[in-house]
Point group: C2
DNA sequence: TTGAAAGCGCTAACAG
DNA sequence: CTGTTAGCGCTTTCAA
C-alpha cells in the first residue's frame, strides 16, 4: 500500500507545465480549452490516477451534493425499503447519502439534526423520533429543505410523505366487520407517533360506523419491553404476552387488528396455544405485508405499505424543494394502500383498494 | 424561512472585532485564549446561531470523519442490522456514515468504490458484489482502509469480517443427520458469493463424514427470478417453486437445508401442500434466525447470525486500520454462531454452539 | 485559449 | 494571549 498523497489538480498542472485552472476546466469539459491541451491533460490525469476531491469541490460550490436520511430503525422492513429506494433515487440525481440511525432516542435525534446542519446537506429526509420536533423545525428554518417520512408533526409546518394509515385502518377494520366481527381490538406499539394515532382513529371510525361499542378501550397499547438491541424489528413476543393475557382474562374479541405484522406472529401463537383457530374463531389483520405474512398458516390479511412509492415521492419532493421551490406551503402527502386479503380474515374477496 | 447565508467564523470575528482564528481557537476550547474573550466569543456564536462547517474543517484537517458503507440490499435483515450497528458504533467514535446501496449490480458496485474515493472517506466497510473485485483492491491500495463484510475475496488481500458459514453449515447438517436424516439437500441462492460456497462446503463435509452419497448434486441452486425490486429480501416463492418440483419429481430427501430462512417459508408451504409434515416427514434447517422463524409451525431450526458482533468487530478493525495499523497482514475473521434448534428438526436439544 | 488571483470556511504555523 | 500569513483542493472571476 503506497502511502502517496492524493493526486491533485496542482500535480497534473505541474507535471504538464500548465496552470491549475486549465486543468480544472479541461477535466470539467468546458469548451474554453484547446483540443490538444485537453487531451494531454486528460491523459496525464488518467496516468496519475487523479480522483477529484468532492469535499473541496463542494466547499467552493456551496453544495454538498448530499442528502441526509434519518431513520429510527433500519431493521424495520418498511424503513429498509425506504433506505434502498431513497439511496437509489438520490444517487440517480447525483446525490450521496448520509445515513443516521436514531433508535428512537430523542437525544440522538436532536444530534442528528445538528450533524446534518454541520455537513451542510442539501436536503434531509427524516423519520423523526416524535414527541417534540423543534430541532427539525429549526433545521428546516435554517434553510435546509426537509421532508418527514412516515411520521408527521401535524403542528409543524413541515413537508410530509407517508401512508394514509387512517384510510388503511378504516378499510381493514371494515373488512373484518364485514367478515362478521362484532367485537374487535387493535394492538399497537406504545409509541407516541402519528402512524399509531392515525391507525387508531381509522379503526375507531370503522367501529363507530358499525355501531360497535366495547366496554374498555378497544385500542390496546403493547408494552414493548426494552429490547436487547433496538437494531431489530418489532418483537412478536411482546404481542404474544399481551394476547395471552387477553385470552386468559376471557376478553378475547372476534377479531384482532395489529399495528404491524410482527405482532400478528405473537397473536397467532397465543390463539393457537389457546386452541383457537385464526381466521375461523378469531379474525386477524395486520399492517406491513412482510414477506412472511403470505406464508403463515393461515395467510395473514394485511395492509401493503407502498414503501417504494413513498421513498420515491419523498425524494422527488425534496429535490423540488432544493431546486428552489421552497416558498410553497408545506405539503402533506399520504399514499393510499391496498389491503391484501388472506385466510386470516376468512373472506376471500381478492385485493381491494 | 430566512434565506440568510450561514454564519461563519468570520462573521463572529467581525462582529466582535477580533481575528478569525481567535474565534476558531476559542470555539475549539484551546487554552491559548483569554477567559473573557472566550466567553464573549462563545456568547456571540450562540447568539448568531453559528454552526461549524464540517466540510471546510475536513478539508483542512485532511480527514472526512466519515466511513463509507456499501451494502447490496438493506432489506436483507442481516444487513439491516449491520447498518444499525455500524452507524451507531461509527457515530460513537465521531464518524458520519455515507451509505451506498448496490443491489447486486457490478456497475453500481464499481461506482461505489469511486464515490468513496472522491469523498475521501476515512475507511470503508463493504459487502461486495462478488465476481471480480479489483476496484475494491484498488480502493484499498489507494490508501483507504477497508474491510469486507460477510462476503470474502479469498484471492484478494483484504480485511474481512464475516460469519463462519462453513462451521455453521457443518454443525447444522450434522444436527439433521443426527436427527435421522439419511438423504439431504441444500437450497442456495444462485449468486457466486463466498457465503454460498462456504455453506455448501460445510454441508458437503457433513454428508461425507456420515458417508451419505446422493445421485445428483445435493446442493441445489434456486433460480431467483428477477425480483420486481431488489429492495426486498429473498423471495420465498422462488424456493417454493423449486421445492414443488422436487416433490413432484419424487426426489424429496429426508431433510432440506436452506441458505436463508425466507427460502424455508417456501419449502414449508410446498411440503405442507404435498401433505407432508415438516419436522416429522421432512426435517428443515435454515440460516438467519429471522424474527418470524421462531413463530412458524413448526418452529424453524436455524443458524443465528451474530450481526451485532460482526458489525462491531468490523468497525473496530477498520478504526484500528485508520489509526495507522495499516501494514499488518490482512485479517480474515469468521465469527462462530449458534444453531437454534426448534421443532422443524424434531430434536429438542437446546442451543448448541 | 490560457494564466494569475481570489476565495469557499476552516485550522495551523509563526510572529508579536 | 492574539493577529497575521498560509494553505487544504477546487472553481470562478478577470486579464492577458
Amino acid at each position: 500500500m503506497v502511502e502517496s498523497r492524493r493526486v491533485t489538480l496542482k500535480d497534473i498542472a505541474k507535471s504538464l507545465g500548465v496552470s491549475v485552472n486549465t486543468v480544472s476546466r479541461a477535466l470539467a469539459d468546458k469548451d474554453s480549452v484547446g483540443e490538444d491541451t485537453r487531451a494531454r491533460i486528460k491523459a496525464e490525469a488518467a496516468r496519475l490516477g487523479y480522483v477529484p476531491n468532492s469535499m473541496a469541490r463542494s466547499l467552493v460550490l456551496g453544495s454538498a451534493m448530499t442528502l441526509g436520511l434519518v431513520i429510527t430503525n433500519p431493521s424495520n422492513p418498511f424503513y429498509a425499503q425506504l433506505i434502498s429506494t431513497i439511496e437509489q433515487r438520490g444517487r440517480t440525481h447525483g446525490y450521496s447519502l448520509m445515513l443516521l440511525v436514531t433508535e428512537e432516542s430523542p437525544e440522538v435525534d436532536r444530534r442528528a439534526a445538528d450533524t446534518l446542519l454541520r455537513w451542510g446537506v442539501d436536503g434531509a429526509l427524516v423519520v423523526p423520533v416524535q414527541g417534540e420536533g423543534e430541532h427539525w423545525a429549526r433545521l428546516s428554518e435554517s434553510g435546509v429543505p426537509m421532508v418527514c417520512l412516515n411520521r408527521d408533526f401535524p403542528s409543524l409546518d413541515l413537508d410530509f410523505v407517508g401512508v394514509d394509515y387512517h384510510h388503511a385502518a378504516l378499510q381493514a377494520t371494515r373488512h373484518l366487520i364485514e367478515g362478521g366481527a362484532r367485537s374487535l381490538c387493535l394492538l399497537e406499539e406504545d409509541l407516541p407517533i402519528s402512524p399509531v394515532a392515525e391507525r387508531s382513529a381509522g379503526f375507531r371510525q370503522a367501529l363507530a360506523e358499525a355501531g360497535i361499542e366495547s366496554s374498555g378501550d378497544p385500542v390496546i397499547s403493547v408494552p414493548t419491553r426494552r429490547r436487547e438491541s433496538l437494531a431489530l424489528p418489532w418483537e412478536p413476543a411482546d404481542a404474544y404476552r399481551l394476547a395471552q393475557d387477553i385470552v386468559d382474562r376471557g376478553d378475547l374479541p372476534d377479531a384482532v387488528m395489529v399495528g404491524n405484522d410482527y405482532f400478528a406472529l405473537g397473536v397467532y401463537r397465543a390463539l393457537t396455544e389457546a386452541g383457537l383457530r385464526v381466521g375461523d374463531d378469531v379474525l386477524v389483520g395486520g399492517f406491513g405485508d412482510h414477506p412472511f405474512s403470505a406464508y403463515l398458516s393461515p395467510g395473514l390479511t394485511t395492509v401493503r405499505l407502498p414503501a417504494a412509492e413513498i421513498g420515491t415521492a419523498a425524494v422527488d419532493l425534496l429535490l423540488q424543494r432544493i431546486k428552489g421551490d421552497g416558498d410553497t406551503a408545506a405539503e402533506k402527502r399520504r399514499e393510499r394502500c391496498d389491503l391484501v386479503v388472506r385466510a386470516s380474515s376468512r373472506a376471500s374477496k381478492g385485493t381491494m383498494t
